[in-house]
C-alpha cells in the first residue's frame, strides 16, 4: 500500500503526482495505467480546489494506492462537504465552440477512465471514495 498526502496547490500536487508515478513505475504499471491514475488524481484534486466546500479552509486530500491483478485500487479521502462523485452525470454533451461556458468535463472524464466502486462519509468527517483503474 502506498499512501501519500495530496496537496491542492499546483506545486504540491505536482510533487505528489511525481511520487505516485514513481511508485507505479516501480510496481510495473503500464504507461496507460499510470496515465489514468494521474488523470483521476488531477481531476479529483482540481474538483476539490474549485468546488470543494471546507469548514476550515481547503485541506490536502490523501490517497492510498495498491496494485492487484494488474489493476490499481485507489482510495481518496478529503475533508470537504459530503460529495459522492457517482451522483454526477456520467456523460456530457459534446463541447461546442459556440458555447461561452466550457466546464464540467472533469468528473465525466473520471467516470470514463475509472470505476468508482464505493463512496462513504466517515464518522471522522472525511469523504472516502474508492476507484479501480485497469488497462482496458
Amino acid at each position: 500500500m502506498f499512501v501519500i498526502e495530496l496537496p491542492l496547490d499546483p506545486e504540491g500536487l505536482g510533487a505528489a503526482q511525481a511520487k505516485v508515478a514513481e511508485y507505479l513505475a516501480q510496481q510495473g504499471a503500464s504507461d496507460r495505467l499510470r496515465y489514468k491514475v494521474r488523470l483521476v488524481l488531477d481531476e479529483m484534486a482540481a474538483n476539490l480546489k474549485l468546488h470543494g466546500v471546507f469548514a476550515a479552509g481547503p485541506q490536502p486530500a490523501r490517497a492510498a494506492l495498491r496494485i492487484e491483478d494488474s489493476s490499481v485500487h485507489l482510495r481518496l479521502e478529503d475533508t470537504a462537504a459530503p460529495f459522492d462523485p457517482r451522483s454526477t452525470a456520467a456523460t456530457v454533451l459534446p463541447p461546442s465552440l459556440d458555447d461561452d461556458k466550457v466546464g464540467g468535463l472533469g468528473l465525466p472524464l473520471v467516470r470514463r477512465m475509472a470505476e468508482i466502486r464505493a463512496y462513504s462519509r466517515l464518522e471522522t468527517g472525511w469523504n472516502r471514495t474508492d476507484f479501480v483503474l485497469n488497462d482496458a
Binding site: 496515465y35 482540481a46 463541447p95 470514463r112
Partner: protein, 113 residues
C-alpha cells in the same frame, strides 16, 4: 509545460506544445497560450507530439482558445496526438469539435494553408 509559437505564413501559425497540460500547469500558461493560439486571427495548427498529458482543464483551455480563433474566422487543427491524449479527446468528444489529424502537412491542408 512549455510551448513555442512558429509563424508558418500570413494566415497560419504553429503552436508546439510540450509536457503536461493539467491543473498543475494550466494556470501558468493559460494567458500566453491563448494569446499564441489566437494571435492575429490566424488559423493555428497545434503540434501535440510532445504533449504527454492532457486533463479536463487543459481541454477547457484548448476549447477557449479555439473559440477565439473561430470567431475571428480562423480554424484550429491538432496533429501528432499521443495515444492516451487522443483517448481523452475522444472520450470527451473533443475530436468532433477540434479536428485531429496525423501530420503537420494534413493539418496545414485542413486549414487551407
Amino acid at each position: 509545460m512549455r510551448f513555442e509559437l512558429v509563424e508558418l505564413g500570413p494566415t497560419v501559425n504553429k503552436v508546439v506544445l510540450v509536457g503536461r497540460l493539467d491543473s498543475v500547469t494550466v494556470g501558468s500558461v493559460e494567458t500566453p497560450l491563448t494569446a499564441a493560439v489566437a494571435a492575429s486571427g490566424r488559423s493555428a495548427v497545434l503540434d501535440m507530439t510532445g504533449l504527454e498529458f492532457l486533463s479536463s482543464l487543459g481541454i477547457r483551455l484548448l476549447l477557449s482558445a479555439a473559440r477565439v480563433v473561430t470567431r475571428r474566422g480562423g480554424q484550429v487543427v491538432l496533429f501528432g496526438v499521443q495515444p492516451m491524449v487522443r483517448e481523452v479527446l475522444t472520450a470527451m468528444a473533443l475530436d468532433e469539435v477540434l479536428p485531429v489529424v496525423g501530420t503537420e502537412s494534413e493539418a496545414l491542408a485542413r486549414v487551407g494553408a
